[in-house]
Symmetry: C2
Subunit: 336 residues, 2 copies
DNA sequence: TTGAAAGCGCTAACAG
DNA sequence: CTGTTAGCGCTTTCAA
């Protein structure tokens, strides 16, 4: 920066100011000088050192986010929505993925905090005690997403997975289904999956139906293959089963394909529903009934909330904890 | 850090040294003192400032990577492989996604370089001239992945998409297929897709077959829905079509489902093949013939290459450009 | 094994 | 609108 300044016969500060604001403001260099500075940077191959800038200004420009997995489009869509929301404010998303493992999450939180993010977005409300403490004492706004929490750390953007599955159960009930089951992964490996199962149990109980037909197969993320194996196990154990609700569209698709492979009609022999509103549930045949979630919207709202909180904190204020309930939609399709 | 030091009656440097190495080395604090330091950090809620550390040591601990899209499991698997490979060396992956857009890539490269990464991994070899110049003059090792390039910037980890599709064409030819077509997106929107189409054209020409049955529908990433529409258009235009090779498994799955919807037997009426070895191609019924790619392996090898280059550069040397050709496998399945 | 001094490249704060 | 000065929290380097 000093070299650029020397070349143009100005001070470092003038260069710094020209580079630090894309839109001119009061007390910026004149537009002409600003252009000459930018050109010289280009010519000399100068790229501003964000580390030094962060160090001096105490603003990293990072928003840290943790998602369970990268290759689950629900979560990558949330990350995408978050990125879009914050990049207009010049913020960059620093992402980590936990592989659905809480100790990994704690370790990642510690690593991410060392980068001094200006805000943090985590998925869900299950954290190790230390992780929770780290988030609380981080000094920056925290948003927990996807689940609706009774005791959020600060901000919360999500919906009740249990309630959504409950509505799905009632929708299937209204179509005449009675002997319904739930197919998911091991509850301890996935808080959201456990919530969905809980919603199934409660809704069935409310309808005075037998809620014992549930199967847990494998750890999160539950694969399509697990869905295929699961549906076979369920039908052999409960031949009277009329409909199965799966913890995700991936599991539902695995189950659907296995039925097709064995010549079992869907929804004739068995109705199948999923969760998540993934592309595949719409593309396949028959299309799979699902709970469509606004994954990108969750990220976008979380980002907007953070920007608001960050703006306030720069003027010395603090945004009161906010909870935003996101919508979802039961999509009844051919598979039921 | 000064507070921690003061509390224990030692100097900042002792604390710094205790914190900077997880495994003790020569000239570190005694193990007992080291434990007391770590405990005090925990008690006082101290989290080391990586920004200051980077600033002082000139090592960011970042590996920057650019992928076309987050929600394509091929690329997210590569990112996953890269992360696993470098995290053991204490490196963190800083990710950006280009949405298959080259100007966006250029902008992201500029942004990422400001964070002073110690290595860069980009997808493919198509970059704007300025992006290429930025990468070349970044001063850190660069790996281009997925495509096999004739003129890589430095290191290259990938395979020939054209050759892979060529092998697929010959495998289908061996099964008796002659009237084959290619279904993909607009070539200018996706260099890899264009390569795959090119491989189709060349292989068909080599076999003395008519290679005119190709359709480009939509920009990358081509959706399942586009695959569904595409297969209908192709069959109405070329009713004699026996087999269609799709630019990705997603497109192939969309095509397959549309055929099922319309009661067209696959592979009876039309054989369908995909590309990428995605989970869905294996889970669906019939299973889809595909080119299985070691996506995670690409990231892993790229990461190892970078670690080697970084280690060398710390001793003042420079790793000569390396090209690693990754394997792929033609998976013949029920859809053909 | 430990400590003291210097400085990394930028921006905040204030002065002009 | 521009410049000067000080300093961000670490690590490097050198000395003990």
């Amino acid at each position: 920066m000093a070299d650029i300044a020397a070349r143009l016969g100005v001070s470092k500060m003038t260069v710094s100011r020209a580079l630090s604001r894309s839109t001119r403001r009061r007390s910026d260099a004149s537009e002409d000088l600003r252009q000459r500075i930018l050109n010289t940077c280009q010519e000399m191959g100068y790229v501003m050192d964000q580390t030094a800038r962060t160090f001096s200004s105490k603003r990293s420009g990072f928003i840290a986010t943790l998602i369970p997995a990268l290759n689950n489009s629900n979560f990558s869509d949330t990350a995408h929505g978050l990125t879009s929301a914050v990049e207009s404010a010049g913020m960059q998303v620093l992402m980590g993925y936990t592989d659905y493992d809480m100790p990994t999450e704690e370790q990642l939180i510690r690593t991410l905090l060392m980068r001094r993010p200006e805000g943090i977005v985590v998925t869900g409300g299950s954290h190790t005690p230390l992780a929770k403490k780290l988030l609380e004492s981080s000094g920056v706004p925290v948003v927990e997403t996807w689940d609706l929490l009774t005791q959020p750390i600060a901000h919360n953007v999500g919906f009740s997975n249990a309630q959504a599955v409950g509505e799905l159960v009632r929708a299937l009930h209204a179509k005449g289904y009675r002997r319904m089951g739930f197919l998911g992964g091991l509850p301890q490996s996935d808080a959201r999956g456990a919530d969905r199962r809980q919603g199934f149990l409660e809704a069935m109980a409310q309808l005075d139906l037998d809620a014992t037909r549930t199967l847990a197969i494998g750890s999160a993320p539950v694969s399509m293959e697990a869905g295929a194996q699961g549906v076979v196990q369920m039908l052999s154990r409960w031949p009277e089963l009329e409909a199965v609700i799966c913890v995700s569209d991936h599991v539902a698709f695995g189950a659907l394909s296995e039925c097709q492979r064995r010549g079992w009609s869907v929804p004739g022999r068995l109705a199948i529903a999923g969760f998540g509103g993934f592309e595949i549930a719409q593309a396949c045949h028959p299309q799979i009934t699902t709970v469509a979630v606004d994954s990108a919207g969750i990220g976008k709202v979380a980002g907007q909330l953070l920007l608001k909180a960050i703006a306030l904190s720069r003027s010395g204020q603090k945004l009161a904890p906010e909870t935003v309930v996101m919508p979802y939609r039961i999509e009844l399709r051919g598979s039921t």
